[in-house]
């Protein structure tokens, strides 16, 4: 009884806070100083059609490096914790997946992989980018695991893709220091024609590397989870 009462009290006060926030909200008529700077300078300075990508990869590139590092740490810890349990051989025999899932996944997995690659290669032109594309690629891995839970993926391959992507990401960032304005500056490569695929300097390369890295990290987490047999 007292538990119910306290829960509803917390919910009510939370609702009150939201209502107060909503009543005090008035949309801005124009962009603030930072927003206006990005909106006006992105097209000529960075050459990316998608301003969000320009901010994520170039203006705030260091934050993105930090995010990718956090994700890498998470994937490593998941692998470390679950690796101990995966030594004993699997005893449960999972039921075979249905016909629909088998055929459907054979059809869908390549398409999902292509969509993921498309999303991160076109990150500087269309909405989306490395993180979204990586998640889409990982969902293809998950679909394969759903179809056949006993399927084994090569940890070595995933680790190699992940490390190479991370290494090149930092190398390109360092190249920016020596050849252009600073760490992760994209302008050491030609900016190119605004709106075409090969434009915006190094952004497509950096975002593709981020996409591969994020996809490999998510996939390694999923694979570790699936290999953690009866604990």
């Amino acid at each position: 009884m007292i538990k119910r009462l306290s829960v509803s009290l917390i919910l009510a006060s939370l609702g009150l806070i939201f209502v107060a926030l909503l009543l005090g909200y008035s949309p801005d008529e124009e962009l603030n100083v930072t927003g206006r700077y990005y909106a006006e300078h992105t097209a000529e300075d960075i050459g990316a059609a998608n301003i969000v990508t320009a901010i994520i990869v170039t203006y705030r590139g260091l934050d993105t490096l930090g995010e990718v590092t956090v994700l890498f740490l998470t994937a490593s810890i998941v692998g470390l914790v679950l690796a101990r349990q995966s030594k004993n051989t699997p005893t449960i025999q999972a039921e075979p997946a249905g016909e629909l899932l088998n055929i459907g996944s054979r059809l869908l997995v390549p398409l999902i992989l292509i969509l993921g690659a498309y999303v991160f290669i076109n990150g500087h032109l269309t909405p989306g980018g490395g993180f979204q594309g990586g998640a889409i690629i990982a969902s293809a891995t998950l679909l394969m695991l759903l179809t056949d839970p006993m399927r084994r993926f090569s940890h070595r391959l995933i680790a190699i893709i992940e490390s190479i992507a991370g290494l090149f990401f930092v190398t390109i960032g360092l190249l920016g220091i020596f050849l252009a304005g600073g760490f992760l500056d994209n302008r050491f490569m030609p900016i190119g024609e605004f709106g075409s695929l090969f434009s915006a300097g190094a952004i497509p390369i950096i975002y593709s590397l981020i996409g591969l890295k994020v996809g490999a990290e998510f996939s390694s987490m999923l694979v570790s989870l699936s290999e953690a047999e009866d604990s």
């Binding site: 969000v52 990508t53 039921e95 909405p127 980018g129 998640a135 889409i136 969902s139 759903l146 989870l225």
Partner: protein, 84 residues
């Protein structure tokens, strides 16, 4: 934001609250997982209305895609172990 978009956003928000309620109260776990995925899917449509396509994509890919699949995957594993 014009009136139509506003009305649709209100509808979406109500549907989200409804789906979240279903996710908590329903007895069957698979139903609850689907309802939780629906909350994310509606949220991503709402983000699209608010002119944030990048966030909408992240929400659709991770919130409604990856998490829902992961829940089903873990559910299948738990059921498989129970049978032994």
């Amino acid at each position: 934001m014009n009136t139509l978009l506003f009305a649709m956003s209100i509808l979406l928000s109500l549907a989200m609250i409804g789906a979240a309620f279903v996710a908590i109260r329903v007895k069957r776990i698979s139903m609850a997982i689907l309802a939780a995925g629906l909350v994310s899917l509606l949220a991503s449509v709402l983000f699209l209305f608010l002119a944030a396509p990048d966030v909408a994509m992240t929400e659709a890919a991770i919130g409604s895609g990856l998490t829902t699949f992961l829940f089903f995957f873990v559910l299948a594993r738990i059921r498989g172990e129970k049978r032994d």
